[in-house]
């Protein structure tokens, strides 16, 4: 027998379940007095640099019903394309931008909404720039392993066309599932479909 490798296996995922809000967003449920505020409820303040935008949408199941019990986390770069993370070695991110947020679908409508800024571009490992995007992670009852996807921006046609990740997607007809559609104001509509003809592209990152 050779020496054993000193490696471990990742803890297996389990569904967040229907009561995920207790752990992640107790104030949202009306459980008061534990935490001053739910973590991740605010990305920006008055001093945050960048264009104010909102991202809004619903997550749909295989028969088109919106999930009313999911929790979504968002992770994105600041307006200059820097992440608020110790792993960010290219510079220091905007101290007035959190970069990470968490929200719950509305229990009646299933609508989720993030108020944020439009992110700058960040590099691909080979140095090319990626198109502006936000990373999203979706958990809920019935989802055994949190789902990773990205939202790109409808008004970044040129950057999207050159994006190295989007270029990897074989079926180009699926690309629109990754693009938030800007309305007249600064809101991007981004619906996520777990199944069906419009199934969102999910990533194995």
């Amino acid at each position: 027998m050779p020496q054993p490798l000193d490696t471990l296996r990742e803890t297996p995922s389990q569904t967040a379940g229907p009561f995920v809000h207790i752990g992640l967003m107790p104030n949202f449920l009306g459980i008061a007095g534990l935490y001053a505020a739910d973590l991740g409820n605010r990305l920006c303040n008055d001093k945050t640099k960048g264009e104010r935008i909102a991202i809004e949408g619903q997550v749909f199941d295989g028969i088109g019903e919106p999930l009313r019990d999911c929790v979504i986390e968002l992770w994105q770069a600041d307006a200059a394309g820097l992440y608020a993370s110790a792993s960010e070695t290219r510079g220091v991110a905007d101290a007035n931008f959190a970069g990470w947020a968490r929200t719950a679908a509305d229990p009646q409508t299933g609508l989720f909404r993030f108020e944020t800024i439009k992110p700058g571009r960040v590099p691909f490992p080979d140095g090319r720039l990626q198109a502006p995007h936000v990373s999203l992670w979706i958990v809920a009852r019935g989802i055994n392993l949190g789902l990773n996807t990205r939202m790109y921006f409808s008004d970044e046609t040129e950057a999207n066309a050159a994006d190295p990740i989007l270029a990897r997607i074989e079926h180009k007809t699926r690309l629109p599932t990754l693009v938030g559609q800007r309305d007249g104001g600064g809101t991007y509509r981004f619906n996520i479909h777990l199944q069906g003809a419009d199934e969102t592209v999910f990533f194995d990152i």
Binding site: T11, I22, D69, N144
Partner: protein, 250 residues
């Protein structure tokens, strides 16, 4: 975040690929809700970029004094949550067996009667006025963490006609990178409901179920006070950047 004694600066390596056969698959028909909520197309794989390698960090400023003490964090003065008093402790490690310090761990659970403090839980087990069922902590420099709680009760749920969840505590863990984000559940050694559980049976490899099962740990128990269970959490490991080819100008 660097491991203790590992003088090499920030973590910038890409993550080891996730072994998706070790996790439950998206579609586990015995767990009925997964049927309409499981993506049917293959996920698109790509090597990590800075968007996946970086991740948010949370300082101790977010923590309150009782955040990891579920017996007292919602209790009225002089009162305490009802149930079997427990310490749950362990370490956050990565797949390279290195401690992962400074990461936020959130937990939630049912009370001793198997009831959650959630408007959607209609189980007839009563609420405990002194128990909210949630808490959080941050892993220490050696990756260790602990929480104090009461043992959650098993409870029936509308899946099969007579399906019961084994006692469990939900854990949400951040790593140092967004691609390490993980939610899981901890089960208790010896619980006969484990082998019947429709959610756990979605896991193919029995060794993976064992990894979610915390053993009784008498060495950490507190005489005349609390039993203890040990639950180590393993996050995805990072590739070493030590031997990586450097691109010109990078």
């Amino acid at each position: 975040m660097s491991a203790p004694g590992d003088n090499k600066g920030p973590e910038t390596g890409a993550f080891l690929p996730r072994d998706r056969l070790w996790h439950p698959p998206a579609l586990t028909p015995r767990y009925k809700t997964s049927v309409l909520r499981s993506p049917q197309r293959a996920p698109v794989s790509f090597s990590n970029t800075i968007s996946e390698i970086a991740g948010p960090a949370f300082g101790h400023a977010v923590l309150g004094e009782l955040d990891n003490d579920l017996i007292f964090n919602f209790a009225r003065p002089g009162e305490a949550a009802i149930g079997e008093r427990l310490l749950v402790h362990g370490r956050v490690l990565d797949e390279s067996n290195r401690p992962v310090p400074g990461v936020l761990i959130e937990f939630w659970q049912a009370n001793a009667a198997g009831r959650y403090r959630h408007k959607k839980d209609g189980y007839l087990g009563p609420l405990d006025p002194n128990f909210a069922g949630c808490g959080r902590t941050i892993s220490a420099d050696d990756g260790s963490y602990w929480l104090r709680t009461i043992k959650p009760g098993p409870y029936p749920w509308p899946n099969g006609v007579n399906d019961w969840r084994p006692s469990h505590i939900h854990f949400s863990i951040f790593g140092s990178g967004f691609a390490q984000r993980l939610i899981t559940q901890m089960y208790f050694e010896g619980d006969p409901l484990i082998r019947l559980d429709a959610i756990l049976r979605g896991i193919a490899d029995p060794a993976a179920i064992e990894q979610l099962t915390a053993p009784l740990d008498m060495t950490a128990s507190v005489p005349m006070d609390s039993l203890a269970y040990k639950f180590d959490i393993v996050l995805r490991g990072r590739r070493s950047t030590r031997f990586e080819n450097r691109l010109e100008g990078n």
